[in-house]
């Protein structure tokens, strides 16, 4: 049991994460993000980014193809719904396993190279998967329409259990609890807490130490008697499993899967999330995923009407000017805001938002200490 204990700081981190996830609907409400669809995205893409960070943040191997595993997870989950049961548990277990299996094959090949060549190889593999999903694999992926449930799916386990969904299209449910809305969010939330816990363990394990050593000095590691290849491959597979799981959860809350989930833009997004939040930190990728999904969903929804109302207090010509300028950055232009934010962070905070928080808390701690010292000096 001794091995189950985390350090005090890590326990606080885990407890904090758990509280924020479980209290998500209340905490996110003032930000306008307290609705289940967006909350689900926060935790699911959080899982995706936390797993990606185990590869990229720890070993420094930058994959541009991880969306492939996300897509594979979604397809696997939908097939599990179609063939086995609408219960989400087999779906996410299979999605995780298949994500890991594909990652083992693709990782084995891509890890023959390092640096930019590794990145290009992963990108090539992901684009290949994306194109295959649209062409020869259409019997499995249903091409452009995407893979959907139909009433006549066999669902052999459900059938064996005598479960009949009647004339309606079934949706995923966990022993009767529907997996959309808030229950769906809480299901994904609990899974994400488990994933976060496992990530802490990996970070603090000898295995995690070796992964960080790969990033720091691969040569030294080789001359120290460690075979870096299987370590990097194991990290690749773990991150592929996290991605597969995330893809599976996307299908749990909304049972369909399309190839666009595997596109290179989706692979790039998880890179952005990780760097924005802070690569190599535990919490950074979660925060990065949250910020990007928030922008995508909230900023993109702002329109001129909302802006007019926001600048209502200004005289009319200035109001119009402000609306014209700011409207470039919201609605369809949310990518512009994100791009600007990303640039500012990479230039001024290369360690991502986490570096910003750390600097801020160091500053505050310094001020508090300064005050106390000042006070005790006066007292003396």
């Amino acid at each position: 049991m001794r091995t189950l204990t985390l350090s005090r700081n890590d326990l606080i981190l885990l407890a904090g994460y758990t509280l924020v996830v479980l209290g998500g609907p209340i905490i996110m409400a003032p930000l306008g993000a307290g609705y289940p669809d967006l909350l689900q995205k926060f935790v699911i893409f959080g899982i995706f980014a936390v797993g990606f960070n185990i590869l990229f943040g720890l070993t420094g191997y930058l994959s541009f193809g991880h969306a492939a595993f996300l897509g594979i997870g979604s397809y696997t989950a939908v097939w599990s719904f179609k063939l086995l049961t609408m219960n989400p548990l087999p779906a996410i277990v299979l999605a995780t396993l298949l994500g890991g299996l594909f990652a083992a094959v693709i990782g084995y090949i891509c890890l023959r190279r390092t640096g930019i060549y590794f990145s290009i190889l992963t990108l090539a593999f992901a684009q290949m998967s994306y194109n295959l999903a649209y062409s020869v694999l259409t019997p499995i992926t249903n091409g452009e329409t995407g893979l959907q449930l139909v009433q006549s799916d066999p669902r052999i386990l459900d059938a064996a259990a005598g479960r009949d969904y009647g004339a309606v299209l079934p949706s995923s449910d966990l022993f009767g609890i529907p997996m959309n809305g808030y229950p769906g969010f809480y299901f994904c939330g609990v899974v994400s807490i488990v994933c976060f816990y496992l990530a802490i363990r990996i970070f603090r394990s000898p295995f995690g130490l070796m992964l960080r050593a790969i990033k720091s000095n691969q040569n030294r590691l080789n001359y120290t008697g460690l075979n870096t290849q299987p370590y990097a491959l194991a990290a690749f597979v773990v991150s592929g499993m996290y991605a597969g799981l995330a893809g599976g959860l996307l299908a749990v809350v909304d049972p369909l899967a399309g190839a666009e989930r595997m596109q290179w833009t989706a692979s790039g997004e998880v890179v952005l999330m990780t760097i924005l939040g802070g690569a190599g930190t535990l919490l950074g990728p979660v925060i990065g995923a949250g910020v990007i999904k928030y922008f995508e969903n909230i900023f993109s929804a702002f329109n001129e009407g909302i802006l007019m109302a926001a600048f209502d207090f200004l005289p009319e010509p200035i109001q119009h000017l402000m609306v014209n300028v700011t409207s470039l950055f919201v609605g369809e232009g949310w990518h512009l805001t994100l791009g600007a934010l990303f640039m500012v962070i990479v230039i001024f905070l290369p360690g991502g938002l986490m570096e910003g928080f750390n600097r801020l808390s160091a500053l505050v701690a310094g001020i508090v200490r300064g005050r106390r010292d000042g006070a005790s000096a006066r007292g003396a």
Partner: protein, 251 residues
Amino acid sequence: MGILSVRNVNKRFGGLKALDDVNLEVEAGTVHAIIGPNGAGKSTLLNCFVGRLEPDSGSVTFDGMSLLGIKPHEINQAGVSRVFQTPEIFGDLTLIENVMIPAFAARDGAFTLNAWGLVTTHGEIRARALAMLTDVGLADQAERPAGQLSRGDKRRLELAICLVQNPKLLLLDEPTAGMARADTNNAIELMKRIAGRGVTMVVIEHDMHVVFSLAEKITVLAQGAVIAEDKPEKIKGNHRVQEAYLGGAQL
């Protein structure tokens, strides 16, 4: 026959003959120094021992096993550790982590999927690493990132990285370069202690004070070829060595 046996090793870089039919026998439990002017091929020779370079021809055997055609990590697992001319350390990690990694490698082998138990629960590894850092005089900086160390301290750290593995053969490429005089003397004491434990050592060194304090045998390289090999006191008076090494000046 020695524990390390180098036979007729040749290595060319384009038109440059970096190693010219080098033969070398290192006896078990001795300190063997390799000296020679800049560019003589000393580092190149060590590179051929640890799998960084493959010689064009010749053989390198350690303890009866060929070191050619196998991976660097396999050579290390066979008991050969090396300190590089430019320190190779884990700059982003703390000193204690730097030394725990080789300790794990020595205990658990080249790959173990040890992802569940926390590093902190491996108290024995930590204790060994800390003892090693104490040995090289860096224990007080154990929690600092290694990248912040001075050049001399980086060398001592790299030495600790190698020593914690209890290697059978230790290869040192200019272990005291960049150290202040006092640090050099400490390093000599440390290397004497290591030699006292029966570890075989091959030391490349420009500092003759270090060479003559440690070496039981000296090999002199010049332009890739061995021009002399003898006991230290004999090497001092060797005219060919003085010619090649210092252009005729006294050693």
